[in-house]
Symmetry: C2
Subunit: 157 residues, 2 copies
DNA sequence: ATATGTGCAAATTCTTTGCATTAGA
DNA sequence: TCTAATGCAAAGAATTTGCACATAT
């Protein structure tokens, strides 16, 4: 068996190669901005807004618009996943292809932790029983993280 | 006991009175747009965007901006709840104060059904165990409703 | 009487689009 | 070579804000 057939490579450089191959196979061209975006998304973790991504790219790499367009393309072929934290800005993360997961977002500092499990499978089943097809869901959790609790308590002394 | 102390009146006119009382007690003034908005939200069901709400109000009732400002006020005192269906437009619904619930949104026709139960209590508990406080969540389900399945099948004949 | 709410216009923020130019395959 | 990708500017959509005027209490 060829290792390139592996659905979800574990190491970062393999992930990048795999992603670039997926990009090419889908008929997209491999360009510097796309390579840089994938590289960034694979190495740095936690979902980023289009603006954050653009600022983290090597300066002068590309126009902000190109980031948006690239993200749309990458989302289309499921290399990245779009997250909606309800603050009017989408965040994007690399789609490892592993199981579905969710986020815990701190309302104060916007830090994000990943919950490594999906708990809504039963709910999706219920909705399918209601007659719906193509069922998906979004589930995000919000709270105040430990750091911010400490910080807020200190600030109010 | 006074019936006005009841947390969640079941009938529409009681709900309106109760809501107006809450509004006043919170220090807000009872104005025609706010009364009309609450009335609409209590009687018509399914979450509405600010624009939909404005179009459904008696014409000339108020400026669209007033709808936004009223919704912010009503949300603040938990008379309405803001829903995010990930399409770039918030929807608002009257907060009956009853148990938490979720929506099933048809991706084709944007119809909304309500799921009368909350399935994420265990998940919130887990997140609290991770150290977070003020834990909340958003959970929405998406699919293709029965009508749209039929319609799409008919269209492709 | 006085603070709160409203209308109108304009600003903001995030995202998308049009079009001429550049550059992958 | 030839189509897809990019940069720049501008459009779009939803929402928010500033300020003078109107109105609920």
């Amino acid at each position: 068996m060829d290792a390139s057939h592996d659905a979800s490579p574990a190491c970062a450089s393999e992930r990048l190669n795999h992603a670039l191959l997926t990009l090419k196979k889908a008929g997209y061209r491999i360009t510097a901005p796309r390579r840089a975006l994938l590289d960034l998304l694979i190495h740095e973790h936690g979902p980023f807004s289009a603006d954050e991504l653009h600022r983290r790219l090597p300066s002068g790499m590309c126009d902000p618009v190109t980031v948006y367009r690239s993200l749309v393309a990458l989302e289309e072929i499921h290399l990245v996943r779009r997250c909606d934290f309800g603050d009017g800005t989408y965040r994007f993360e690399f789609n490892t292809g592993e199981h579905h997961h969710h986020h815990v977002i701190c309302r104060q500092c916007s830090s994000v932790e990943t919950l490594d499990a999906c708990f809504a499978a039963g709910l999706e089943r219920l909705v399918r029983q209601m007659g719906y097809t193509n069922v998906t869901h979004t589930l995000e959790l919000f709270g105040t993280c430990v750091c911010c609790q400490t910080r807020l308590a200190a600030g109010s002394r």
